[in-house]
């Protein structure tokens, strides 16, 4: 019996039918007996002391069962890098909309009506709304007690500086001396909203023993468990976190949102409490992509060889640190790009402001710095008269090179990515692109890399009595398809059909630890653990089989369909069911394979580089990518249309080809929004556009139908079947490639996102004679 390998096939999602029939259950779709509904009261001020609460009217309102203020929460703080955030505002508010009071009532309508009756007295403080405000001498402090907060890394902080990071290799002064041309520019990128179609929400229920079960929209049941318990002062053993289907995350659901508040409401009432954020609340109180100000200076030789680069970043982190120190450090680590630049120094300052926190968002700082660096490369190429693709190819990292700061690289498919994007886009013939009257067309190119990895992960593979398997990893499938990919890996490793493996839903009580669905990591890190755990099951199966078949374990092989047999002897074999029955009832015990590991290769080599304030000592393996975009610019309106795109990524090995394409296509669309239209706008301290009527994301009409995803496979030596991550890489250089295409079409170089019609038109008019 021969069976086609499950690896590399475009298998449909395991759960696709439940999603196509409306039976998939997300947090909002869960109902519990006796369930109450939550509502929040948000701060009207960006920065103020809370003087007093008057919640009498709200408590007396119809249906209200509980009203909680900051006084009802202990003085416990959470935070992935810096413990600076209470579950609910306590003593002070730090951004408009910050939850101040929480209510639980019999119906959602009653809870929201009662929220309007809450009176809070504030004493306003000066609002810090920009990095310039934050860094001004004598500025009001967003966190007076920053020095005393617990930090998980050696943070360089003080005043309104949340974290400073500096990374350097080589000798910058020497680099400038050796350069024939030095180009320096400043860039700005805006806050972007994740806009997962499913708004954040949570449902908590307390059992008679006082233990809490929490269902929520999240990217890691384990991060949620840790954050809720940290911020409420609960032992982790008292909280069980589960995940129904998740309507996407993009980073928004990695750290806690309202889960701590909902758990506290459930503990206070003894009844289940559900709270689903409205779209406006989801915009106003969760998190955004960081606005960056970036200065990039690059020195090159006349032949196009990159020599030196200096990068300075100022990132606006908003009111709480959240994942910001990580985003800043990661952006700096990516600021050299996938190139050799011997003399590089990148410095960044992350500031606290009185705005919604910024945090993890697909790309994790890479799209911001790449917009700057990858557009500057085109400017340099133009100044030197070198083809933009050639200059990238000339400086691209090769197998003997290291990443910025010294990490070794396992596999590099960059050259092939560049070649595929160049060929498929017809780059060489781009001068022949025809434009309609009043329109101008151009192609833009950019390259990127991204890690997959970080932190701990585990897998448990259990052989059931009938020879089928349960796989349990604790990794949350947020819609990207990891349940299917991990099941493919497990089934293929054991040579059993896909439907003989069931994958357990993440559960902090029963699943092995998984840091989360983030950092493009699940296929690579969890996939490795699954493969190793399946190998352990194979080893135990062979131990039994060797005894039963009276042979050496090394003479045995797994055969397709759940059979173990002696190599070269067709008849000598046993089905898994026979092995599993023996293990369960007679000898050895049930067969359970486990594996856990953590990525432990250092990011930073002290012999090559200097690193100050680096928040992650180990980070992961590198995927590579190239992107070519064709745009058409309307000369009258300045509107930019992306007409075609070729997005290419080296993913090591595609476990599920259609899912890899789906990640690249979806990331392109989200990057196109970042490039052209998306911006969270503050009007003073308040969000001006917290609705989908005012904050636009790309529709079928903006994303080109000719969106071509291409896969390059340069196998990672340690990845499962050679696989590396793909979740984020496709977004990194969309804005850069679009900007390069706009420049190719119009001669206008834009250094600020989004590239709105106004900005493009202003550039076009300014570049015309007399303009």
């Amino acid at each position: 019996m021969s069976v086609e390998s499950l690896i590399g096939r475009s298998l449909p999602r395991l759960e696709v039918r439940e999603k196509l029939t409306g039976r998939a259950q997300y947090t909002a779709d869960l109902y519990r007996p006796g369930m109450l509904h939550g509502a929040l009261v948000g701060s009207p001020h960006a920065h103020a002391r809370i003087v007093s609460y008057d919640v009498r009217a709200a408590r007396a309102a119809p249906g209200v069962r509980c009203v909680l203020t900051g006084d009802d929460f202990g003085d416990h703080r959470m935070g992935a890098f810096i413990k600076d955030e209470h579950a609910i505002a306590k003593g002070k508010v730090r951004y408009v909309g910050e939850p101040v009071v929480a209510i639980a009532a019999e119906t959602e309508e009653q809870a929201r009506a009662a929220a309007l009756l809450v009176e809070v007295r504030y004493e306003e403080l000066p609002a810090i709304l920009t990095p310039e405000d934050a860094l001004a001498p004598g500025a009001a402090l967003v966190h007076e007690d920053l020095a005393s907060y617990f930090k998980v890394f050696e943070a360089v902080c003080g005043g309104n500086v949340c974290s400073r990071t500096e990374l350097a290799e080589g000798d910058l002064a020497q680099g400038w001396r050796e350069s024939d041309l030095v180009v320096e520019s400043e860039y700005r990128t805006p806050a972007q909203a994740h806009v997962s179609l499913e708004p954040c929400g949570a449902l908590a229920e307390v059992d008679p023993a006082g233990r809490v079960t929490l269902w929520s929209a999240n990217q890691s049941v384990f991060r949620i468990q840790a954050s809720v318990c940290e911020s409420l002062g609960l032992p982790m053993s008292r909280l069980r976190c589960l995940t129904p289907r998740v309507g996407a995350g993009f980073g928004n659901k990695m750290e806690a949102h309202i889960q701590p508040i909902v758990v506290q409401l459930a503990l206070a009432t003894g009844r289940p409490v559900k709270l689903i954020l409205s779209r406006e609340e989801d915009f106003e109180i969760v998190r955004t992509r960081h606005p960056f100000q970036i200065r990039v200076k690059t020195g090159v030789r006349n032949d196009g060889t990159f020599v030196a680069r200096e990068v300075e970043v100022v990132a606006d982190g908003g009111a709480y640190a959240d994942d910001s120190p990580g985003v800043l450090g990661y952006s700096l680590l990516m600021a050299r790009g996938p190139y050799r630049i011997p003399h590089t120094r990148c410095r960044g300052t992350l500031v606290y402001t009185n705005k919604l926190r910024a945090g993890a968002f697909r790309g994790f700082g890479n799209p911001q710095v790449s917009f700057a660096t990858e557009t500057q490369i085109d400017e340099i190429a133009a100044r030197l008269g070198i083809d933009p693709v050639e200059i990238r190819r000339k400086n691209a990292l090769g197998t003997d090179d290291r990443w910025f700061c010294g990490q070794r690289l396992g596999s590099i498919g960059l050259a092939e990515c560049i070649a595929v994007a160049e060929r498929e886009s017809g780059w060489a013939d781009r001068a022949k692109l025809a434009s309609a009257p009043g329109k101008r067309r151009g192609l833009g190119f950019a390259c990127t890399a991204h890690i997959s990895g970080l932190l701990g992960t585990g897998a448990i593979v259990r052989l059931l009595e009938d020879g089928s398997v349960v796989l349990n990893t604790g990794a949350v499938d947020i819609g990207q398809g990891s349940d299917t990919v991990l099941t493919q890996i497990c089934a293929d490793a054991l040579k059993i059909p896909l439907d003989r493996v069931s994958i357990a839903s993440p559960d902090t009580d029963g699943s092995p630890y998984n840091w989360g669905t983030t950092a493009s990591r699940v296929t690579y890190t969890t996939g490795r653990a699954v493969f190793a755990a399946a190998r352990e099951v194979e080893r135990q199966i062979k131990t039994h089989a060797a005894e039963l078949l009276e042979c050496a374990e090394s003479d045995l092989e797994l055969r397709p369909g759940g059979v173990v047999g002696i190599k070269g002897v067709p008849g000598k074999e046993l089905p898994f069911v026979a092995i599993s029955a023996r293990a369960h009832w007679r000898k050895g015990g049930p067969i359970i394979g486990t594996n856990s590991w953590v990525f432990d290769q250092p990011t930073f080599d002290p012999k090559r580089a200097v690193a100050i304030g680096l928040p992650f000592p180990q980070i992961g393996v590198y995927s590579f990518g190239a992107l070519c975009v064709e745009v058409e610019v309307d000369e009258i309106t300045g509107k930019v249309d992306a007409r075609r795109a070729w997005t290419v990524a080296d993913v090591g090995r595609a476990i599920n080809r259609a899912s890899v394409e789906g990640q690249l296509e979806g990331a392109f669309a989200q990057g196109l929004g970042f490039a052209l239209v998306e911006e969270v706008v503050w009007d003073g301290p308040r969000l001006a556009n917290p609705t989908l009527m005012d904050y636009k994301v790309p529709t079928t009409l903006e994303v080109p139908y000719e969106l071509h995803a291409h896969i390059v496979e340069s196998p990672d030596p340690d990845g499962p079947f050679g696989a590396k991550g793909v979740g984020e890489i496709g977004i990194n250089v969309v804005a850069a490639a679009v900007a390069n295409a706009v420049a190719a079409a119009t001669g206008v170089r834009l250094r600020q996102l989004p590239m709105t019609p106004e900005r493009v038109l202003r550039g076009v008019l300014a570049s015309q004679p007399g303009g």
Binding site: R13, L197, Q480, G481, M693, L701, Y705, L707
Partner: protein, 156 residues
């Protein structure tokens, strides 16, 4: 506070008696009273399209539709839709057009109405027809391909 009135709705070919307030939307009634949760609340402003259901065969934003205005109409939700929708389901599966799934119910319903109205619809017509439904995961390419396969009869 809120006046509730009995209302008989015809949902997925069955008569269902509910008692919504006068201001309750069709989405609230479907989800909270009838436990038909396939229609999603993505924005509650009629922008994202995730709440779309068919009323007398036409796509309607359930979050903007008052339940009491649906008296006598035939309401079809993702839980009950068949016919073209079944072919679309297979096509979505084959094209890998589903990721997180939050927009999927509505996409299938809108596509079913589109294909019923315009058999043989072109790619451009399909893109236009789906432009009122947001998807943040897929980049739309695979969704358009799935609908195209049914509209042009190239799917299974």
């Amino acid at each position: 506070m809120s006046v509730r009135q009995t209302l008989v709705l015809r949902v997925n070919d069955a008569e269902r008696e509910v008692r919504p307030a006068l201001h309750d939307t069709l989405l609230t009634v479907l989800r909270d009273e009838l436990q038909l949760t396939g229609a999603k609340r993505g924005c509650n402003h009629g922008v994202c399209g995730a709440c779309t259901v068919l009323v007398d065969g036409r796509p309607v934003r359930a979050c903007l539709t008052l339940a009491h205005t649906c008296r006598g109409a035939a309401i079809t939700t993702i839980e009950g839709v068949t016919g073209i929708a079944d072919r679309l389901r297979s096509a979505f599966e084959d094209a890998n057009a589903v990721q997180c799934g939050f927009c999927t119910s509505a996409m299938v319903l809108v596509a079913a109405a589109l294909v019923a109205e315009r058999p043989g619809a072109s790619i451009e017509e399909i893109r236009t027809g789906l432009s009122g439904n947001l998807c943040r995961c897929t980049g739309y390419r695979k969704i358009v391909d799935a609908v195209c396969a049914v509209a042009q009869g190239t799917g299974r």
